[in-house]
């Protein structure tokens, strides 16, 4: 068997997610009343990219076989902070962006420190820190409001040449400049190793602590990017608990749809990005088929169930019941 076979074996989840998204998006655009014009594409892209960034944030932590329930809260915190400091001339706007991203890193680093050195379970740690982050967001922005540098916001949420949505280019750039180097770095591989078998990783002299710490910090950074992007889309900040929880839960759904194993060690942020885009497209499909928006959560839930069930099809072929529990 050739190299391509093993390549396919390793990236099966991601390839499946890409394929499913392409199919769904094709159905969507063929049935759209006005067809796929630039404005429709841009709006869809902006919504999709938002969730895609949070899904990437969730992925890096899930690969270590952890979970980050504070991604939504970091997003909200970044949004509230951005609505205060990403303003003014070029320099102060630039400083503001850096400041927001830095705060995201700090939030993630705090999670990492507690999980790695406090040896606490990721699930309880991130529930607690998430509440703290949300509390800070509320203090920064008790009532919705604020503003953001409109030029920057328009540039990043608008269209580029050939009507390509700027947000998509941004997403591709983040994948290329953050995810790809990370995945191929020593620390990125260590992240996979830790998630796949922590004891084996230790025995092999893999930097376990650094890998986990980096994963949580990166998760904070990506969540802050998403929060920044929310600000560019809404031109304001809002400390909304509902938004935070929704993004957290959707990020986990996207990760699963994207073929990332919740047990850790397998999957890719690219898969999760397509999982997120898929999840968004479900909502848009409702729209083109004139279904009541009220039904949206129900259908999203059903599609999620169906997707997970697909992953379980192989169980019917299992002849040795012990393999069911692997």
């Amino acid at each position: 068997m050739g190299d391509w076979y093993y390549w396919h074996r390793e990236h099966r989840g991601t390839l499946l997610a890409i394929f499913a998204f392409v199919v769904m998006f094709a159905i969507y655009s063929f049935n759209h009343p006005v067809g796929l014009n630039a404005n429709v594409a841009t709006t869809a892209a902006n919504k999709g990219v938002l969730l895609a960034l949070v899904a990437m944030a969730q992925t890096v932590v899930v690969i270590t076989s952890g979970i980050d329930l504070s991604v939504g809260a970091v997003l909200v915190l970044a949004n509230c902070l951005a609505s205060r400091i990403v303003l003014g001339d070029t320099i102060s706007t630039g400083m503001g962006v850096v400041g927001v991203l830095l705060v995201g890193c700090l939030c993630g680093a705090l999670n990492g420190l507690i999980v790695v050195y406090g040896r606490l379970q990721p699930i309880v740690t991130t529930i607690a820190t998430g509440a703290v982050f949300y509390g800070i967001a509320l203090a920064l922005r008790p009532v919705p409001g604020g503003d953001v540098n409109a030029q920057l916001a328009e540039a990043l949420t608008g269209k580029l040449w050939l009507d390509i949505p700027a947000s998509l280019v941004l997403l591709v750039a983040i994948i290329g400049l953050v995810w790809m180097p990370y995945r191929r770095s020593v620390i990125g591989r260590a992240t996979y190793a830790v998630g796949s078998s922590e004891s084996a990783a230790y025995m092999s002299g893999v930097p376990i602590k650094a890998a986990k710490f980096t994963a949580y910090t990166l998760s904070g950074l990506l969540s802050a990017m998403a929060g920044l992007f929310v600000t560019f889309v809404t031109y304001s900040g809002e400390a909304s608990a509902a938004n935070g929880s929704t993004y957290t839960l959707y990020s986990i759904a996207s990760v699963v749809l994207g073929g990332v194993s919740l047990f850790g060690g397998a999957g890719s942020a690219v898969g999760a990005v397509f999982g997120a885009l898929m999840f968004r497209t479900i909502g848009d499909l409702m729209f083109v088929f004139n279904l009541e928006p009220l039904w949206q959560p129900l259908f999203q839930g059903l599609i999620l169930l169906a997707a997970i069930s697909l992953g379980a099809v192989r169980l019917f072929q299992v002849r040795n019941r012990l393999e069911l529990y692997d």
Partner: protein, 517 residues
């Protein structure tokens, strides 16, 4: 000057003394075997050598320089590399990723996959396993192949001292033959090898020097071949080595239908028309080379496999066993001691008491409520019967030694008072003393009216324990040996699918040598 010396090394875990004033001296270009029962201190010794744990006292000298390893990475850098018994591979990463996991070739911080692959191919070649694809995911490989990758990974670090801890226990016969050649070549290249094994014939084949550990101390060091097996075993167990196997009971002839009968059992292409009979009081062995369907046969009996055909009869009446739950029901009374006690036999972090009662919950409870007193009485009975060495029944089972863990697995199934007991290589990696206790227990259970089906990779064990042996080859019964027909010679000849009786003076060893060439 010796390559590596260890002097006065001691290590305590809590109150338990694992290693006491241990001394070891290794030369380059020689294979040094370390022998001892489980709990004799071998594992602690190699953990200290490879930096997994630190010694409380004593010194280690490598090339005349005192050394101290803070972690496995430090030991690796100094040239001491261990192939662990518990696999240290990352299942979701590729073979190449795994081989260079601790020190991948990088280019501006990014892993250089081309170089990595070349390194992997070279390491695999050095381990004699060029047939393993470097891009294959480790989780898709068989246990034996994974162990070969493990060895390749160790060689990829260019060790000066290579430690092999039970490295062959998971290997198939062809990989074992392969690895012997590799180890001998490494020796000739001047590497120092520390070899830990429970298999005497491997030590006879490979070792130049031997050191025996008993109760945390090194009790003897000698040149290989200067002591008989019997002397070695006596030193290991620190007591007289009497006949390891209990006497067999004379075969009974009976007109009753056999307790367990299997007719033409088939499953996919792995089991073909297997038929057997087991009468109460009999120990029936399953022999043959590893991986010829023995495990699948036991799993099929126990209701784990889907889509089997053929018939299973209990007391002459056909039964349909489609889950372990049915198999263990009082009507059938079947128990399976699984191959891998750590994953299939035990819930490691839970207590000894909890592990013992899992399978027998229905026997000590009423309407779903556990009768604590009845449960405790049962636990006490089993702990006494098996003489489990444990600091009470409330400690986690993973704090016990391997042999005692295996006793807990067996005890768990004795709780349901089984009539049919299936065992899948129950003595693998277990010390001699515990082995003897298990042999005696099996015979006692048979005498009390149970039928025992024992799969073992150890031919001596089949010869010593069994009244009848079915030798499997490629999923089918190759031959059935009864009573005095069960000899190591006959077992090996059938296992290798030799049709005719081999030359009468051909010993077991030569039979093996032929297949290896």
């Amino acid at each position: 000057m010796s390559l590596f010396t260890m002097r006065g090394v001691s290590k305590r875990y809590g109150g338990a003394r694992a290693l006491q004033d241990a001394t070891l001296s290794m030369e380059g270009g020689r294979i040094h075997a370390v022998l001892g029962e489980n709990g004799a201190g071998k594992s602690t010794l190699i953990k200290i050598m490879s930096g997994v744990v630190q010694a409380d006292a004593g010194e280690m000298i490598l090339d005349g320089q005192p050394v101290r390893f803070r972690d496995p990475a430090a030991a690796n850098r100094a040239g001491v590399v261990c192939v662990f018994q518990e696999l240290s591979l990352i299942p979701h990463l590729s073979v190449a990723d795994n081989i260079s996991i601790s020190n991948p070739p990088t280019h501006f911080g990014i892993i250089d996959r081309k170089t990595q692959r070349a390194m992997a191919e070279q390491a695999l070649a050095r381990a004699g396993s060029e047939d393993i694809h470097p891009l294959a995911l480790v989780k898709d490989l068989s246990l034996s192949r994974r162990q070969m990758v493990e060895i390749a990974k160790a060689l990829g670090r260019n060790p000066r001292i290579l430690i092999l801890d039970e490295a062959t226990s998971a290997l198939t016969a062809s990989d074992v033959a392969n690895i012997y050649g590799v180890l001998k070549r490494l020796r000739s290249e001047g590497m120092g090898l520390l070899y830990i094994s429970h298999r005497m014939h491997e030590i006879a084949e490979l070792a130049d020097d031997c050191t025996i550990f008993c109760n945390g101390r090194n009790v003897a060091s000698y040149k290989a071949g200067t002591k008989t097996d019997n002397e070695v075993v006596e030193l290991m167990i620190g007591r007289e080595y009497s006949s390891a196997f209990p006497p067999k009971s004379p075969p009974r002839s009976s007109t009753e239908p056999p307790l367990l009968e299997v007719r033409k059992l088939c499953w996919t292409n792995r089991l073909r028309d297997i038929s057997m009979q087991g009468r109460a009081g009999e120990v029936v062995g399953l022999g043959g080379l590893d991986g010829q369907g023995q495990r699948e046969f036991l799993l099929a009996l126990f209701g784990v496999l889907r889509g089997t055909s053929g018939q299973i009869l209990i007391d002459g009446a056909p039964v349909n066993i489609d889950s372990p739950g049915v198999a263990k029901s009082p009507r059938i009374g079947m128990a399976l001691i699984p191959e891998d006690r750590k994953t299939e036999g035990l819930m490691l972090p839970m207590t000894v008491a909890e592990n013992l009662t899992f399978a027998a919950m229905d026997r000590v409870s009423h309407f779903g409520v556990v009768n604590r007193r009845a449960e405790q009485a049962e636990i006490d009975r089993i702990m006494r019967l098996l003489a489990v060495k444990s600091a009470g029944t409330g400690v986690p089972v993973n704090s016990l030694s391997g042999g005692n863990q295996q006793k807990v697995v067996i005890g768990k199934w004795l709780m349901i008072a089984p009539r049919i007991i299936l065992l899948n290589d129950p003595t693998r990696g277990i010390d001699v003393g515990t082995k003897q206790e298990i042999y005696q227990l099996l015979r006692d259970l048979a005498t009390a009216g149970a039928v025992i089906v024992l799969y073992s990779t150890d031919y001596d064990e089949l010869v010593g324990c069994c009244d009848r042996v079915l030798v499997l080859y490629d999923g089918a019964v190759k031959s059935e040996l009864v009573g005095s027909q069960i000899t190591e010679h006959a077992l090996i000849a059938s296992a290798l699918n030799m049709d005719d009786k081999p030359a009468s003076n051909g010993s077991a060893k030569t039979a093996f040598a032929e297949i290896e060439d």
